[in-house]
């Protein structure tokens, strides 16, 4: 439909502040905490307090849908099981491992001499055994996507990173460009796809300069520049830009699988070195951080270590007048206690002073929220339907299509929490249905 062309708006990226310093490695935190939660599934712990742990050893299992093992990210001893703050905003049980700083590897971590013989099934099994999940923020188990029965024409690597402040994907590609293409190559083999596309945002021309010379070794791989708009990193938007097709449920319906660039780079290690998902890059940024940077850390690292490494909070920051945001500023979550741990879905921690309190009038009905909505909803009507608890109408208004990109609240001139209202309407729909 003509009315339904893809759209978005430009938002000031504020990415420069965390790009200035190179990628820092912080591989030996004193403690790591492996949360017993992946996506919304609780994990089954299979180690006891006092057990000796090596890097890459399985410590917990996800069961049921998306079953897979979860691995230790440092070597040492299990010293406790205790509650920690998870980026989902809840306190969850976590396995505390006291690091012995010896970096002892599990026996399973062995380089593969030859990777050419792996079949599709073997590659998918490797994803599963490595506990590979989407590092872009959703944390969906990667192998599940590759089990699809639908024919896959194209693997799309999402390096768009449309959230402001975030540079973790960019910095990682910047450091290991070839790894990205390797990961994509293995992904293509795992789906028997002929085509691979790396999508990056137009201002990150540097990615193109890095990757272009390497493409000769990777047939079928191409680069695609995506406009600098938000939410350009949205899966549906990217698939539409690359294939010209839209879909209802999963990208596989359009013959595509979308993976985050960081996931692809982990997969390269999974295939070549048998290193499971045990580390990631996280952006520590925002106006409330003295030296914003990106860190390459084992999963389970306490974020407070990283903030300390960044010089702490900037001077004059009063925490009760600032946000501590897990994730990007558009879709992230305010965490009340600055005691977060790094988990697979945590791409950034942004500390940001709250803006001055302006006096805001009521909704004037300008309709900017409806204008900007990438899925063509009318948030004001959904809010009204929510207030009258009209579940039938909420359904008709397609509230379930909302992906909580946050644009409606972003553009609202009256500072109304309209995204939140749509979220509540969605909850109501889920309960009502």
């Amino acid at each position: 439909m003509i009315l339904h062309k893809a759209k978005g708006i430009h938002i000031d990226g504020r990415k420069q502040m965390s790009k200035e310093s190179p990628l820092h490695e912080y591989l030996n935190p004193q403690f790591v905490y492996i949360p017993l939660l992946q996506q919304t599934s609780p994990l089954k712990r299979i180690v006891e307090v006092g057990d000796d742990i090596k890097i890459g050893q399985v410590v917990a299992l996800r069961e049921g849908f998306g079953e897979m093992p979860i691995h230790a990210s440092v070597s040492g001893k299990v010293s406790a099981v205790k509650k920690v703050w998870h980026c989902s905003g809840k306190m969850v049980d976590a396995i505390e491992i006291t690091n012995d700083l010896l970096q002892r590897m599990d026996d399973s971590i062995q380089p593969e001499a030859d990777t050419t013989h792996f079949t599709r099934q073997e590659l998918i099994e490797k994803m599963k055994q490595a506990g590979l999940s989407g590092l872009g923020g959703a944390g969906f188990p990667t192998y599940v996507k590759y089990l699809t029965k639908l024919p896959i024409d194209v693997i799309i690597i999402n390096a768009v990173e449309c959230e402001p402040y975030l540079t973790c994907d960019y910095m990682l590609i910047n450091s290991y460009p070839e790894k990205l293409l390797k990961g994509l190559h293995y992904f293509m083999r795992a789906a028997e796809a002929k085509r691979g596309v790396v999508c990056f945002k137009s201002y990150n021309k540097h990615i193109k300069e890095l990757l272009q010379p390497l493409l000769v070794n990777y047939p079928g791989v191409e680069l695609k520049e995506i406009k600098d708009i938000y939410p350009a990193g949205w899966e549906k938007y990217i698939v539409q830009q690359v294939t010209g097709k839209t879909y209802e449920g999963l990208p596989a319906e359009a013959g595509a699988i979308v993976d985050n660039s960081a996931t692809a780079m982990v997969f390269a290690d999974v295939v070549e070195k048998n290193i499971p998902l045990i580390s990631r890059v996280i952006t520590i940024s925002g106006e409330g951080i003295k030296n914003p940077r990106n860190y390459y850390v084992p999963l389970g690292t306490p974020v407070k270590d990283l903030i300390q490494l960044s010089g702490g909070y900037s001077e004059g920051l009063s925490p009760e007048k600032a946000w501590y945001i897990a994730g990007g500023p558009m879709t992230g979550r305010a965490i009340l206690i600055d005691d977060l741990i790094v988990s697979d879905t945590l791409g950034a921690v942004i500390v940001k002073p709250m803006p001055e309190n302006k006096l805001h009038p009521e909704c004037l009905g300008c309709g900017k929220c409806a204008d900007v909505c990438p899925v063509y909803l009318t948030p004001t009507e959904i809010k009204k339907a929510y207030e009258t608890k009209d579940v039938e109408l909420i359904k008709k208004l397609n509230a379930q299509k909302c992906m909580a990109c946050g644009l409606c609240s972003y553009v609202c001139p009256s500072h109304i929490e309209i995204t939140d209202f749509v979220g509540k309407a969605k909850d109501l729909l889920r309960k009502g249905a």
């Binding site: 925490p319 945001i325 600055d338 006096l359 309709g367 409806a370 208004l397 299509k401």
Partner: protein, 396 residues
């Protein structure tokens, strides 16, 4: 460990920036009114003064009249707050409250669309109806169903027309002296003469250029078509209003008037131009059909709203007995804002599907039937000779 503030995503808001937010939208809206106000002052004050028909103090009157309108409605709203809300019974709190409820706008606009010699007490009555009945009783800014200024206008239009005319009406001191006007505004002439004829409708007022410039008799500020077009461009560029709403509204009136002209045997392009340049059409299209609170919120709703406005305006203007169709059409459509919003929001969310096709086809059919009726009936009213054959010939 430190305790941080709670908040809701997104943590970036465009309204946090100093140069954005509802306050800025309203400021831009006021700036948009400025050329129109200045033109009204020029036409009814400065120009008449230069022609030597009024004194210096009388020259200031049109400007003061408009500002007075704004002042009166601000006072009414302040009084309402003072009486109903115990917490704002001091000047500071009251000022804060008035700052985010944009109290001056209804009265300001009411004064702009009222005839020049409306007695002040009539203006006060209109402002009372607009601000208190039209706005505050509905729950204040953001909750009103009717455009407050228009409600006030309709109230004085239906009850006080005689009083206003006795007091001097819309004609300024220079216009009264022009014999050719015969005491009627262009639309008044149309309603009275019931003919579509250049010599009757346009010639007494000079040419269509005068219609564009606004030097024709009419309500205080609504004749200044050129000033309104400038305001339109400003408001559209600043994204205060959606650019397409006024265009669709005026376009619909243009096309329907053209067809009515053809149906009545007048094929000249002057008639549709005359039709859109006279009366309050441009003013209503730019400042009232786009008023955010009382018009649909999603783009599709705005389109439907504007189309209906065009048809209703033509119906009221050419077939009803009202000299002015714009105000009535907008008030009537204000009632339908909520259902249109709901209907179009569903259509927009779901696209063309089985579940929405009934409402889409229904809406379209209703619009088309109304349009055809307007053309046939309009042609009938303005031509004694009308039969279906010349009408069809004309259209083809």
């Amino acid at each position: 460990m430190a305790r941080f503030a709670n908040g809701k995503a997104p943590f970036l808001r465009s309204s946090d920036a100093r140069n954005s937010g509802t306050g800025i939208i309203m400021r831009d809206f006021m700036i948009g009114l400025l050329p129109v106000i200045l033109f009204a002052w020029y036409k009814n004050g400065i120009k008449v003064y230069i022609e030597g028909n009024i004194s210096f103090l009388e020259m200031l009157y049109p400007l003061l009249f408009i500002l007075l309108g704004g002042l009166i409605s601000t006072l009414f709203e302040g009084l309402f707050f003072y009486i109903t809300d115990k917490e704002v019974r001091n000047l500071k709190a009251l000022g804060k409250k008035l700052a985010v409820s944009y109290a001056a706008i209804p009265g300001l606009i009411l004064a702009m669309i009222a005839p020049l010699y409306t007695p002040i007490w009539v203006l006060m009555f209109g402002a009372f109806m607009g601000t208190i009945v039209g706005k505050m009783l509905f729950g204040g800014f953001g909750n009103n169903i009717f455009n407050p200024a228009l409600l006030g206008y309709v109230a004085i239009g239906f009850t006080m027309l005689g009083v206003i005319n006795n007091a001097g009406g819309a004609f300024n001191a220079s216009e009264v002296l022009v014999d050719a006007y015969a005491g009627a505004t262009p639309l008044g002439t149309l309603a009275g003469a019931k003919v579509i004829n250049y010599d009757t409708l346009v010639a007494p007022y000079g040419s269509l250029w005068n219609f564009l410039l606004g030097t024709i008799p009419g309500a205080l500020a609504e004749t200044g078509s050129l000033a309104i077009i400038i305001a339109y461009i400003w408001l559209a560029v600043r994204k205060v209003i959606k650019w397409f709403t006024p265009l669709i509204y005026v376009g619909t009136v243009f096309i329907l008037s053209w067809f009515i002209g053809i149906a009545a045997g007048e094929t000249g392009m002057w008639f549709p131009l005359y039709s859109i340049l006279s009366g309050g059409l441009l003013f209503g299209a730019v400042f009232m059909a786009t008023e955010p609170v009382t018009t649909p919120k999603n783009p599709l709703g705005k389109i439907v709203f504007a189309l209906f406005l065009g048809v209703l305006t033509v119906l009221f203007r050419f077939i009803g007995n009202l000299p002015e169709g714009v105000g009535t059409a907008i008030i009537v459509m204000n009632i339908f804002t909520m259902p249109i919003d709901k209907m179009t929001a569903v259509i927009r969310a779901q696209g063309i599907k089985k579940s929405t096709i009934v409402s889409i086809v229904g809406l379209a059919l209703f619009l088309i039937i109304l349009m055809v009726y307007a053309i046939v009936k309009g042609g009938n009213v303005y031509s004694a000779l009308i039969t279906f054959v010349p009408f069809i010939q004309g259209v083809l």
